[in-house]
């Protein structure tokens, strides 16, 4: 099977929404989430187009100072996204699955598996990602069908009940969350046509989840930390298929798994060391940091959640500026 890095965009445009993106957007614009998601998708498409046009195709004889500066920024970017991913994972596991287990232990098997995959080459990650992509789509379709019984159109009425300012803020947050992780692929061979396809699929799934949440929860959409998981508890099909939320939310873990493997893979190439133990050491250190600083400290987690979209926005601008500088140097 030929590797196609564009596929990763599907996973990367998703994973930040679990426990962070959806709740944050809901906090801004409640039942108008769907409008901000759509606007956010359009903004994201624009950024994706710019990234694909300013393709990074570095060579060893390029400007050394630029390369070092770029590698440093890219390295910090990877560490930051990895930190947030592990905060999301540990909070989710703590909240619903393993409330009595220290987050370090809860996340450890997941991280070991990701390191194992991340240390392989990109083609092998692609092979796993392709299978998980298909399963993920099937699960989302099943979820939506099973939940359709609970939909109430009245829950999203009246439209545009929140201020335009909040809708715009939420759409910026949406675009940041969906596009920022895609910057991991700037040194991969991605084309706008193909990457748009996967970005669109990823966003359609996001919009579908947002629509499902709004149609079911209505004004309660901003009450829950994990609205996307909470609604899964309502699945009751013919009174014999119920309590399946833990199984059916597995596609979120797929997103986190592929994204974490990709982050580890990119980390390996950025530090330019083929030894996987160093990459594993960095990853375990971040997990330990998450365990010590964020897992048992809601205050720190909230600060991280508040600054996250700003930092992501900063990285988007920084990396675009670096890409522009690179294309100027190259020409």
């Amino acid at each position: 099977m030929k590797s196609d890095s564009n596929l990763f965009i599907y996973f990367l445009s998703h994973f930040l929404f679990l426990g962070a993106g959806f709740a944050m957007i809901a906090d801004y614009c409640k039942t108008d989430m769907i409008i901000s998601a759509f606007l956010g998708f359009l903004i994201g498409c624009g950024i994706l187009y710019i990234v694909c046009k300013l393709k990074l195709n570095r060579k060893t004889n390029d400007n050394v100072t630029f390369n070092k500066m770029f590698d440093f920024c890219y390295f910090i970017f990877i560490l930051f996204i990895m930190l947030f991913l592990l905060v999301i994972l540990s909070s989710f596991l703590f909240s619903y699955f393993l409330p009595y287990t220290p987050s370090f232990i809860a996340c450890l098997p997941f991280l070991i598996l990701s390191i194992y995959l991340g240390c392989k080459n990109i083609k092998e990650i692609y092979n796993v990602a392709f299978i998980l992509f298909v399963i993920s789509i099937v699960i989302v379709v099943i979820k939506t069908i099973l939940l359709s019984k609970e939909f109430q159109v009245g829950n999203i009425l009246p439209f545009l009940d929140t201020s335009y300012k909040n809708i715009i803020k939420a759409s910026l947050v949406y675009s940041t969350f969906s596009i920022c992780p895609c910057f991991l692929l700037i040194d991969e061979d991605i084309s706008f046509k193909k990457s748009f396809k996967y970005y669109a699929i990823g966003n359609i799934i996001n919009i579908l989840v947002i629509l499902t949440i709004s149609l079911i929860l209505g004004d309660m959409v901003n009450v829950y930390s994990y609205p996307e998981y909470t609604i899964l508890r309502r699945i009751k099909f013919f009174d014999f298929i119920e309590n399946i939320e833990n199984f059916i939310c597995i596609n979120w873990f797929f997103d986190l798994f592929i994204s974490l493997s990709l982050l580890i893979n990119k980390l390996k190439f950025t530090v330019k060391i083929n030894n996987c133990y160093i990459v594993a050491g960095i990853s375990f250190s971040i997990l330990y940091l998450v365990f010590k600083v964020f897992s048992n400290n809601f205050y720190n987690t909230i600060i991280l959640y508040h600054i996250f979209s700003w930092v992501c926005g900063f990285f988007i601008i920084l990396l675009i500026v670096l890409l522009v500088i690179y294309s100027i140097i190259k020409n």
Partner: protein, 345 residues
């Protein structure tokens, strides 16, 4: 396999868990009294019933009371299989809003259990009553209320998450069924209604039936008309009703259909004129009852049908008092749709 290893850290055998199937909450002398119904795991394998025992805890806060009850159990309490919550009248009157946050916030509870009130008996009496079958009280109560869909249909069995949604949403008040013990048997005993988080009243079962019709959540609601001391009975089994504010009036419109249950009056149901008269009589009866129900709601300040919410969604005007002063006009059409197995006796 590696994904699942994290779960081994705090693993507990099912035999070491006390599975709580119901929670009763009472509020006496500024203290919470929590009754936990716990499933027995040492029952006879040949018996088909689900058996249980209860533990009671007292505390100044709800958490204290639950912990106090849990401390009396030798095994670890597990709340993820709670099916039913029974609330006493004093709790509903004084501290109803306290049950919202705790059960929504904690991981240990699934928010899809049913909530019932009990204004005549304490939750402890309800959950310790084994009735004749001796099986778990919560099991019997839930089954009884579920099966009432096909008998009197005066049951309003609401899940906790739906209750909380009504509680938090603008322009809709909450209600749920009330359970009592009469002659050692459980009975569905009316409809508990609220104005925001204030307990207002417990309406009788006939109002509960009307609530089910007006919220389009019915299977089989029966009504009878007395014609010269002989009764003609129908069961409403189909149709849709809409309640809205239009031109400064509460308008109830829609079509309901029903089948003949009992034709004691010996009406000739082959005759179109007779059928039209029956339809018209039942339409009048239903419209009168509906108008009376909405007036009762207005009197109690309890917007069970979410009239204010619907008005807000249509007009964007947030006013949860407006509906209380409006006239009611009910225009429901009733039609017989099934005759039963015979034409005449």
């Amino acid at each position: 396999m590696l994904f699942l290893l994290g779960g081994c850290y705090d693993y507990k055998e099912i035999n070491d868990l006390a599975i709580v199937s119901a929670i009763g909450i009472d509020y006496i002398d500024e203290s919470y009294l929590v009754t936990l119904e716990i499933l027995k795991d040492d029952q006879d394998k040949d018996s088909s019933g689900v058996f249980s025992f209860i533990k009671i805890g007292v505390g100044k806060t709800l958490t204290d009371a639950i912990e106090n009850a849990s401390d009396k159990i030798t095994k670890g309490t597990n709340f993820s299989h709670v099916k039913l919550m029974v609330l006493s009248k004093s709790l509903m009157k004084e501290n109803f809003d306290n049950i919202i946050d705790l059960f929504l916030r904690n991981t240990y509870f699934r928010e899809n259990f049913y909530v019932l009130g009990s204004d005549k008996n304490s939750p402890e009496e309800i959950l310790s009553n084994k009735s004749l079958s001796q099986s778990s009280a919560s099991e019997q109560i839930v089954k009884m209320f579920q099966n009432m869909n096909y008998s009197s249909n005066s049951n309003v069995l609401k899940e906790y998450n739906k209750l909380v949604k009504d509680y938090l949403d603008f322009g809709i008040d909450i209600c749920f069924s009330n359970v009592s013990i009469i002659d050692n048997e459980f009975v569905g005993d009316g409809l508990v209604i609220f104005d925001n988080d204030n307990y207002k009243n417990t309406l009788n079962n006939s109002y509960a039936k009307l609530y089910n019709i007006l919220s389009n959540n019915f299977e089989r609601v029966t009504y009878s008309i007395n014609y010269n001391n002989k009764f003609f009975t129908v069961a409403i089994n189909n149709g849709k009703v809409d309640v809205n504010i239009n031109n400064g009036k509460i308008i109830v419109s829609g079509n309901l259909m029903g089948r003949i249950i009992d034709n004691d009056t010996d009406f000739d149901i082959r005759d179109n004129k007779t059928l039209k008269k029956i339809d018209s009589d039942f339409s009048v009866l239903i419209n009168e009852l509906v108008e009376d129900f909405i007036k009762k709601m207005q009197k109690e300040n309890s917007d069970l049908l979410g009239i204010s919410s619907k008005y807000y969604k249509r007009s964007r005007i947030k006013d949860d008092d407006y509906w209380k002063y409006l006239d009611v006009n009910s225009n429901i059409n009733f039609n017989l749709n099934k005759k039963g197995l015979i034409y005449e006796k």
